[in-house]
Symmetry: C2
Subunit: 264 residues, 2 copies
Amino acid sequence: MSEKTIEIVENTISRRRFIATAGLTAAGLAIGATTFGLAGCSTAESVSEAPILPWQYKELDPLAAAKRGYDGYFEGACCYGVFDSVVGQLQDRVGAPFTGIPTAMMKYGEGGVVGWGTLCGALNGAGAAISLVTDSETYAKVINELMAWYTQTALPIYVPEGQSAIVTSVSNSPLCHASVTKWCDAAGFGAMSPERKERCGRLTGTVAGKVAELLNAVAAGTFTPSFGLAESVTGCMSCHGKGAMNNTLGKMDCTSCHKPHNGG
Amino acid sequence: MSEKTIEIVENTISRRRFIATAGLTAAGLAIGATTFGLAGCSTAESVSEAPILPWQYKELDPLAAAKRGYDGYFEGACCYGVFDSVVGQLQDRVGAPFTGIPTAMMKYGEGGVVGWGTLCGALNGAGAAISLVTDSETYAKVINELMAWYTQTALPIYVPEGQSAIVTSVSNSPLCHASVTKWCDAAGFGAMSPERKERCGRLTGTVAGKVAELLNAVAAGTFTPSFGLAESVTGCMSCHGKGAMNNTLGKMDCTSCHKPHNGG
């Protein structure tokens, strides 16, 4: 057993402000203080804040992101797969403050939240990851673009090394169960089959790669949205939106679930 | 300017293992090491992991949780409101490792993810919060119960102090746009009205309070699920689920969007 000594110089500015200025996980120092007996120092309360968002992003390789997303799917499903791909790589490459977030916290999003079939977990994990590294004006635009791309693109695109491409389908919906059904109908495999799980693994990889691509574009100042909303959204919303009826909200393709009724 | 000295005793077990065993935000020590010049200690890499989930929960008052959820809605919408109510209170009361998570990361869930109308943000924020403090066998059961309760209960229940109750509605769906439409139809207010926003604020408070109640029950060892799935789920899934067709998955009430077709 060896002993090591650290000297901490306490400046005239408050510890809290110093830590915030330095962009650190203040939580950390609190731990040091409480665990290792930092006599006479500030309490945990005064140093216990994560830095304000957004945090500094570092460019990620989209292919590496796709691979980690795909692998992550088989560890903790779709939502975790995308979140861990982006945030986990930033933990590895940047360290703190990303390391204060346990990426396993997003596992609940699997199968549209513990199997309920609501929002596709890959999109949910992507939303949380994007929120960490983009400002409040940007994240909505990036997530919006991701959601529109997802619903209008034949997926999955990612093919693991040494394997072959599989059947793709356009979901017309960001919802898990609708996306799964579209693929099952196109591919002829069951929703509970290993082939469908492989499809969702590749979808997770594809979304993770797309998130890296979008965030790289934001970082480079070249991000431009290229996907519009489905036609039905503007059509149906001309009555159901802010107009005459004003009785719903959303950007999902209405006709993927509801029959168009032309004002009937 | 004053000087303070900390002594760190390095045990024969690795620092990484020691920190994991003690349940600490390892990221924190890494910061201490890099910022305050911890000579001869491990690199950031070796101590940069958040403790493995679940983290220790501390009982929350459901009414206080509801109030903070309601207030949070007006700061950062529904998903943030619930997440910040639960995790923010644990940050205040427990400190690290909860303090390593910026609760603003869940703002993206508002309006069913940046206004898309998918999963109700209150449920999404709840899922993330519950995942932090319950083990992998428990979180799915708790979230499942929350989702079933949400879809079958007349909401909102929470009434801010000094105010009156408002019209309630049963959503039959965990989806934002469906939940909003049901309430607008019942209350006679528009989806973009201040009254609907007040309803979503109270809904956020109600869900936050329910999460505290469920987590308190888990902590006390008294948690028992009491809400079953909608009848249509078992009915429709007898064909569309693992049975003959095996072409979808999920636990949402099918008939809230799709017409029952009785095998047609």
